[in-house]
């Protein structure tokens, strides 16, 4: 049978690139360094919780959640920022782009590969964190509703996908280091969106107000995904709120990958 290829569809290309990217990242040493550091922070949280007689649950929740947050952030940022740069440096991108594909399809595949790794990492660490909390707290574990814990983990995951999207967007036209720096900058601005808007409101000048308002809209609002208060105080997370904020995150992810693809199309390799 003679092979009779047709121009491959976006799904076929993106899935093939995502699979290769996923297994490539799983071989990266930096991934395991991040996981080990997160595990150490988690162990430290258990020790700290044991030392503190009162507020064991609070200490465990704060530090455990911190370990999870740190791990997801670091994996999404490092892999998102470096996955395109790695291909460019090793020149492996050239063979791929010489195939009958569009660069946007290839970039989407890279993003999905990173997303798969981030998801795997978040799932594993979430399960470990929940398991440790349950073991340590006993009946007190239920002080925070399970729905809140799962919802918080899911929002953390969406936030990680968004960080990966930011890093991939920047890496479509810049170096890995610059992409990481810019992504961190946007993350901090986005995590302070309400303060930025408030800052604008303090000004009498209309232009200044508009500027701060524009800045707060131009970057993803990461405050939407931060629910540590609900976790600490055992407040419920509504399903509608989780769905709405997740959709907001997905739209931003799609936008970033789309823009990244357009920029990569113009990039001189």
């Amino acid at each position: 049978m003679k092979a009779s290829p047709a121009v491959p569809g976006g799904y076929q290309v993106s899935m093939a690139v995502a699979r290769v990217t996923f297994f490539e990242i799983l071989r990266e040493r930096v991934l395991y360094n991040i996981v080990v550091v997160s595990a150490l922070v988690l162990i430290a949280s258990v020790l700290a919780a044991q030392i503190s007689n009162a507020m064991t649950g609070r200490v465990l929740s704060d530090l455990g959640w911190g370990a999870l947050l740190l791990s997801c952030f670091a994996v999404a940022l490092s892999q998102g920022a470096s996955c395109i740069a790695r291909e460019v440096e090793r020149r492996t991108i050239l063979v791929a782009l010489a195939k009958p594909i569009h660069r946007q399809q290839w970039l989407l595949g890279k993003y999905l590969g990173v997303v798969a790794v981030v998801t795997l990492n978040a799932l594993l660490l979430s399960l470990v964190t929940l398991g440790v909390s349950f073991q340590m707290l006993g009946e007190d574990f239920w002080f925070v509703p399970l729905g809140t814990r799962v919802g918080a983990c899911f929002l953390l995951l969406v936030q990680s996908w968004l960080i990966a999207g930011l890093a991939i967007f920047f890496s479509s036209f810049s170096t890995a280091t610059l992409s990481a720096v810019l992504s961190v900058g946007i993350y901090f601005v986005g995590s302070s969106a309400s303060q930025i808007r408030w800052l604008g409101l303090q000004s009498d000048g209309l232009a200044v107000r508009w500027f701060f308002e524009l800045v707060s809209w131009l970057v993803p609002n990461f405050e939407f995904f931060q629910v540590s208060r609900q976790l600490t105080y055992g407040l419920p997370l509504e399903l509608g709120m989780i769905a709405g904020r997740s959709i907001y995150g997905f739209i931003w992810c799609a936008l970033l990958v789309l823009l990244g693809g357009m920029l990569l199309q113009k990039r001189e390799l």
Partner: protein
């Protein structure tokens, strides 16, 4: 021995039309011209050698042919369709200069990946993998990770991914660079075999004998400009008059064979050997009287008569000489 006959009556399979390319470089991102108004055609079913020194612009042009880069001006057309169009790239296979691939993949995992990017279905890929691995002599490396491959093996697996989707045009960037003589010979034979199967092969090199050995057509590029382009036979004819080396036994000096000034008798140069002499003669008109005189000499016997084909190196040198 394989025979690849160019079909000059057909439309060219690849047409490079007035292509110029420049890159941004330096702190001020000033554009540096790499290719200047490059034009040539590649006939279907031929082996086209793209020859030039390092830094001449060979790889840049290959990136334009494979659609990886977009020319600043001009067009690169595969059967009339721009190579920027994925429909054109569907029929092009490409081996990069330094075949750095994803090292974590096995031979077959690597081919699955590029098979999917080439538009093959899973069933087609599974069917083609053993065929192409066999074709490039890599059947045993199917389960081996690429990190364990030698340079020659990487070249072969690179060629395997390039031919996986049965492309009409194969673009090979320095396919023999960094290989030992055995590896070079094997890749050369592989290229000839792939061309004999009906493919057009476009390959770049800065090693002239590699191009001379297998190409039908040649383009010579230097400093981003095409210096010459045409059939290889035309190039070899341009190298000056045909020369022949004659080795004689039982002759100790040239004076025994030539009356008067050697250069006037067509003797380009000569040197003594242990039992005789080796003489290089320019032009057929001088060869006949020289051989007649040698045969007439009682003690002399002819060891060999070898025609010396002018090389493309001579062509490069003559071109530079003319410029100076």
């Amino acid at each position: 021995m394989f025979s690849v006959i160019p079909d000059s009556d057909r439309d060219p399979i690849l047409r490079v039309q007035s292509v110029s390319q420049s890159f941004r470089a330096g702190f001020l991102l000033k554009r540096t011209q790499v290719l200047r108004e490059v034009s040539f055609d590649v006939q279907a079913r031929s082996i086209f050698g793209f020859l030039g020194p390092n830094g001449a612009g060979k790889t840049t042009l290959i990136h334009l042919i494979t659609g990886v880069r977009r020319p600043i001006s001009g067009r690169v057309l595969f059967r009339g369709v721009s190579t920027q169009d994925p429909r054109a790239r569907l029929h092009i296979g490409y081996l990069p200069e330094r075949p750095y691939f994803h090292e974590h993949l096995t031979g077959e995992g690597f081919l699955r990946y590029f098979g999917a990017l080439s538009g093959l279905s899973s069933a087609q890929i599974e069917l083609k993998i053993p065929q192409v691995l066999e074709s490039v002599g890599m059947a045993r490396a199917r389960k081996l990770e690429l990190r364990a491959f030698s340079k020659g093996m990487l070249q072969r697996i690179g060629i395997a991914q390039a031919i996986l989707h049965d492309p009409e045009l194969l673009v090979l960037d320095e396919p023999m660079s960094g290989l030992d003589p055995v590896g070079r010979k094997e890749i050369r034979e592989l290229i000839l075999r792939l061309a004999a199967e009906g493919r057009t092969v476009f390959f770049s090199s800065h090693v002239i004998p590699d191009v001379e050995a297998i190409c039908d057509q040649v383009a010579v590029i230097e400093k981003g400009t095409i210096r010459a382009c045409g059939p290889i036979s035309g190039f070899l004819d341009r190298g000056g008059p045909a020369r022949v080396e004659v080795a004689l036994d039982g002759v100790s000096s040239l004076e025994d064979l030539v009356d008067g000034e050697p250069t006037a008798r067509g003797i380009a140069h000569w040197r003594p050997m242990a039992q005789g002499v080796r003489v290089v003669i320019e032009g057929q008109e001088h060869l006949k009287p020289f051989l007649a005189r040698a045969l007439a000499k009682q003690d002399a016997s002819i060891l060999w008569v070898n025609p010396i084909r002018p090389t493309l190196e001579d062509l490069f040198d003559s071109g530079r000489g003319a410029e100076k």
